[in-house]
């Protein structure tokens, strides 16, 4: 259970870090924050890569490859769409 406890410590502390950072966000950036955070949740991609290594058509490998596709859509799409939105916010402070 040692690993679980360490994981729990990390989990709880990270939640506090998240709360501390995000409570300061201005409403203007709510959408980019959400889609950016959304892209970060695609971190599960790391897990899916580890499970898709066998290169066979076993159930686990197939699930892993589908997971890679799903997570990559989340990651690439999420970061790009956030980048697009933020591009519109920048460069026109005063008109």
């Amino acid at each position: 259970m040692g690993a679980l406890l360490v994981g729990l410590y990390v989990f709880v502390l990270a939640i506090f870090v998240g709360f501390e950072i995000i409570t300061k966000i201005p409403p203007t950036l709510h959408t980019p924050l959400m889609s950016g955070a959304n892209a970060i949740s695609g971190i599960t991609l790391v897990g899916s890569i580890a499970t898709a290594t066998r290169g066979e058509t076993t159930v686990s490998a197939v699930l892993g490859v589908i997971a890679i596709i799903f997570a990559t859509i989340n990651v690439v799409g999420g970061f790009l769409v956030t980048n697009r939105m933020l591009g519109m916010f920048g460069g026109k402070r005063k008109r």
């Binding site: 259970m1 679980l4 360490v6 989990f11 990270a14 870090v17 709360f19 950072i21 995000i22 966000i25 201005p26 409403p27 203007t28 950036l29 709510h30 959408t31 924050l33 889609s35 950016g36 955070a37 959304n38 892209a39 970060i40 949740s41 695609g42 971190i43 599960t44 991609l45 790391v46 897990g47 899916s48 890569i49 580890a50 499970t51 898709a52 290594t53 066998r54 290169g55 159930v59 686990s60 699930l63 490859v65 997971a67 890679i68 799903f70 997570a71 990559t72 859509i73 989340n74 799409g77 999420g78 970061f79 769409v81 980048n83 939105m85 933020l86 519109m88 916010f89 920048g90 402070r93």
Partner: protein
């Protein structure tokens, strides 16, 4: 463990990635630093993927490469092609894929470690109670996120109705399915004695998760979408965290927790903006009994032509534009900005009032107006602009309804009683551009439309705004 690469360097690279994620999120909290923050987070993701590939060493990369390429192409095309007005459904869809991936990873691990080797014994005996429990949570949360986000996507896309779909006795049904999935999960983690039974339990659990996502999101109507999208965002983070517990990977735990926390905060902000609790959003379903008994008969509604409205705007020294979901539907953000610029050129002070839940996701209106090149220092939050309405000559409400309904303040029996609203009724003249007198999402009458200082201009938002632009121009000539 003696190998320094796997015992020291790899974990340090993951730690670096987690730190970059935190800096990235921190960047996203300021307009000036947001672009850099997002790129930093993307860099952190790349680092994490590369680190994982290093950790794996020499394996068969064909499947991994294929999956990465397919996902990148699909994600990139979707992200670059989507219209800004369709952003809420795009965010929902991406979110769903993230949740789905977490559930699939947990399933894949169960198959790889238990079902395929044909190991005898329960999951908790083979993987440890912690991994078994988090695997079941990962599957169910991930599946709920996936199907819930898909339903939200379909609702926002207009494929299925945005009105709440209320199934009789749904609270009982939902609770039963929730209980069933918990029982199934506990069975999967602690009691399934053979690989075959474990496989069946995992499949049933996944199916129950998908069903729960549908059941919980289907009753939720359009105006509650900002809450539900934020909440699903939070869930996808939690699912990633649970997967991190299963894999014993702290980077997943940290990143997932960050996203979970940010989603929860947004959910909370949205709930406060509607004066409702999360439970109320999930369980009440507007448009039911209370709304049906409410009179929707209007009297004293005066309809004006764009020409008459333009004359008022033309002589106003201060104008506040209040955008709502109708603006997004009509894709009228550019025309609204054109009108705003025109009035400003003629000497009026023009600002935009943004209600926190205007639109279908947090910050929806801000993104649309940013796309239309409205400087963000002209956008004002509700609390900042509410005192200003008293000294405002003209307010132009474009496609907003419930967020400007005075009943929230005056009628304690109203379903939206207590919800903070924009006090537009204090202004000299209120012009409301609306397609018809149909009630807003809450299904209630809006007394604002009957006020003596209110001018209703009926029609499509974009068309009316364009006519206003033309009329103001011709008045000037």
């Amino acid at each position: 463990m003696s190998d320094p690469l796997s015992s020291v360097i790899i974990p340090l690279l993951y730690l670096l990635s987690a730190v970059l994620f935190i800096f990235g999120l921190k960047g996203l909290t300021g307009v000036r630093t947001a672009q850099r923050g997002n790129r930093l987070a993307a860099l952190a993701m790349l680092l994490a993927v590369v680190t994982t590939l290093i950790e794996l060493g020499v394996v068969d990369y064909r499947w991994i490469a294929g999956g990465l390429i397919a996902g990148s192409v699909i994600g990139a095309i979707a992200a670059l092609k989507v219209e800004m007005t369709a952003m809420p459904q795009m965010v929902a869809l991406f979110n769903g894929f993230g949740g789905g991936a977490s559930a699939l990873v947990a399933g894949s691990i169960l198959w790889a470690r238990i079902v395929e080797p044909g190991s005898a014994g329960t999951a908790s005996a083979l993987l440890g109670a912690d991994s078994a429990t988090t695997a079941f949570l990962s599957i169910v949360i991930g599946a709920v996120t996936f199907s819930g986000s898909l339903i939200a996507f379909l609702k926002l896309q207009g494929t299925i109705g945005g009105q709440p779909t209320l199934i009789p006795g749904r609270h009982v049904v939902n609770s039963l399915f929730l209980a069933a999935s918990l029982v199934c999960g506990v069975y999967l983690a602690f009691f399934a004695p053979t690989p075959g039974e474990l496989a069946i339990a995992a499949l049933v659990l996944g199916a129950l998760g998908l069903l729960l996502g549908v059941l919980y999101v289907i009753p939720i109507g359009g105006a509650d979408m900002p809450v539900i999208i934020s909440f699903l965002n939070s869930l996808s983070g939690l699912a990633a965290s649970m997967t991190g517990f299963v894999l014993g990977n702290n980077l997943l735990i940290i990143s997932g927790a960050l996203v979970g926390a940010s989603g929860l905060i947004l959910t909370q902000i949205m709930c406060v903006a509607m004066n409702r609790s999360l439970g109320n959003v999930f369980f009440s379903g507007f448009g039911g009994e209370t709304a049906a008994s409410d009179s929707r008969e209007y009297s004293n509604v005066r309809s004006y032509s764009p020409e008459e409205a333009a004359m008022v705007l033309e002589s106003a020294e201060s104008v506040v534009i209040v955008p709502g979901y109708g603006l997004a539907v009509a894709q009228a953000q550019h025309t609204a900005r054109e009108l705003g610029d025109l009035l400003e050129k003629r000497g009026a002070k023009v600002s935009y009032a943004i209600h926190p839940v205007a639109g279908r996701m947090p910050g929806h209106m801000n993104v649309l107006l940013a796309e239309a090149d409205v400087a963000y220092d002209k956008l004002f939050e509700m609390d900042a602009i509410n005192p200003e309405f008293k000294t405002t000559d003209a307010v132009l409400v474009v496609g907003a309804n419930d967020v400007v309904n005075p009943a929230a303040e005056t009628d304690p029996a109203s379903p939206i009683a207590g919800m903070p609203v924009l006090k537009v009724y204090n202004a000299g003249t209120v012009m409301v551009i609306k397609r018809s007198l149909s009630p807003g999402f809450a299904g209630i009458k809006n007394g604002l439309f009957e006020n003596d200082n209110t001018m209703m201009v009926f029609g499509d938002a974009k068309k009316i705004l364009q006519e206003l632009v033309n009329e103001v121009k011709s008045l000037a000539a």
